[in-house]
């Protein structure tokens, strides 16, 4: 076994990147990315991330997980708080062998340090090496501290249904209230407004019930 995520990464790369996806929890989907766990052993795993063109993720952390990122292909700007994050556009070139010139380049992402991504028009592919210190590995997509990347991500973070319900009701209400012209001040109905508040009250009541138990 390995002592840290860098040791695991170096072993995996030196071993020819073995493809051994697990049966349990191999695939995760968010609004702008998909992941496949390529290898899992004990508290260590490596996930392949494929990102849509122009995808972004807000600054976030993965509590309890030490990570290391390895560049595969596409156009990826990986940013880590407190680090000089050079503009990756200068390296959007092929290597003499026809790979991306950043292929195999790595950045460690220690537990608790926020990082964020910006993907270019080509999309992006990278490996996420992970050492889960406190629990069995699942996916860093669900072990996420920070704003999500969207509604699909909210769903797998188990907050989506309730948050989306309020957000959708609010958006309907805001649309209904939007003045058609500058002289219009009054909404035609309060139904959307009421729906938003009812959803919010429903969630609060559920939380109160949970707090009692």
């Amino acid at each position: 076994m390995w002592n840290n995520v860098e040791e695991f990464r170096d072993w995996y790369m030196a071993s020819g990147m073995p493809l051994r996806p697990p049966f349990k929890n191999p695939v995760f989907v968010t609004d702008n990315a998909m992941s496949l766990c390529l290898f899992r052993e004990g508290r260590f795993q490596v996930e392949l991330y494929l990102n849509e063109p122009f995808a972004t993720s807000p600054p976030h952390t993965h509590p309890g997980v030490e990570s290391a990122f390895v560049y595969l292909a596409g156009n990826i700007q990986f940013n880590l708080e407190g680090r000089n994050n050079p503009d990756a556009q200068q390296w959007q070139k092929p290597s003499p062998e026809g790979y991306h010139m950043l292929f195999g380049k790595t950045v460690s992402s220690p537990d608790g340090i926020p990082h964020w991504l910006k993907i270019g028009p080509e999309g992006g592919a990278f490996l996420s090496f992970e050492y889960w210190k406190d629990q069995d590995p699942v996916s860093v997509t669900v072990n996420w501290n920070g704003d999500s990347v969207g509604k699909e991500h909210d769903k797998i973070l188990n907050k989506g249904d309730k948050v989306s319900k309020i957000q959708d009701a609010y958006e309907d209400w805001a649309e209904e209230w939007k003045p058609v012209n500058k002289m219009q001040h009054h909404p035609s109905s309060y139904e959307g407004f009421e729906a938003g508040w009812m959803a919010a009250i429903e969630v609060m009541l559920e939380r109160l019930e949970l707090a009692k138990t």
């Binding site: 996806p21 349990k24 191999p26």
Partner: protein, 165 residues
């Protein structure tokens, strides 16, 4: 340069060579409404795409003209159908195999040579490798050499981009 006579020989060579993962700089990623694909190896007229598929999705019967292909199961819950036949019931194989992997890991299907086929993905999502030999064109993605009803707007965009370039 190493060449192969057919897609099966290419697959055997790649496996014996330790499954090298070397995505090309040019057109490595293709996104559709159903799946994301990364070309993990490309050499001459041959390439391998790794597909990650969204849960609860399905293609219509379609073909990839001029491409001989062979799929290899990685994980998840997938079912392939050939020539308009029903999807086979693979539920008996939805079990854990050696080292915590899927029991179908590494199993390959018959070669498809431009003939109609379809894919169904169940609630676990899924992933497979697609070994390909392109007879006439430079390899890009089977998602862009697609004869059939497309999978949605993202897929249409991929095909449009490929036709423009």
């Amino acid at each position: 340069m190493k060449e192969w006579n057919e897609v099966e020989a290419f697959k055997d060579w790649w496996m014996a060579a330790g499954c090298p993962i070397r995505p090309p700089f040019e057109h490595p990623l293709h996104i559709t409404d159903m799946a994301y694909a990364l070309t993990i190896y490309r050499k001459g007229q041959y390439q391998i795409e790794l597909y990650i598929c969204k849960p609860n999705t399905q293609t219509h019967v379609h073909a990839h003209p001029g491409i001989e292909s062979l799929s290899v199961y990685l994980t998840g819950n997938l079912s392939f159908a050939k020539d308009g036949a029903e999807f086979p019931d693979l539920s008996q194989f939805q079990k854990e195999g050696a080292n915590g992997t899927h029991m179908l890991l590494g199993k390959s299907l018959e070669t498809v040579n431009g003939t109609p086929h379809a894919l169904k993905v169940n609630e676990e999502g899924g992933s497979f490798l697609l070994f390909q030999r392109w007879s006439n064109k430079k390899p890009r993605s089977v998602a862009t050499e697609y004869d059939g009803v497309t999978l949605g707007k993202k897929h249409d965009k991929q095909i449009e981009n490929a036709n423009v370039e």
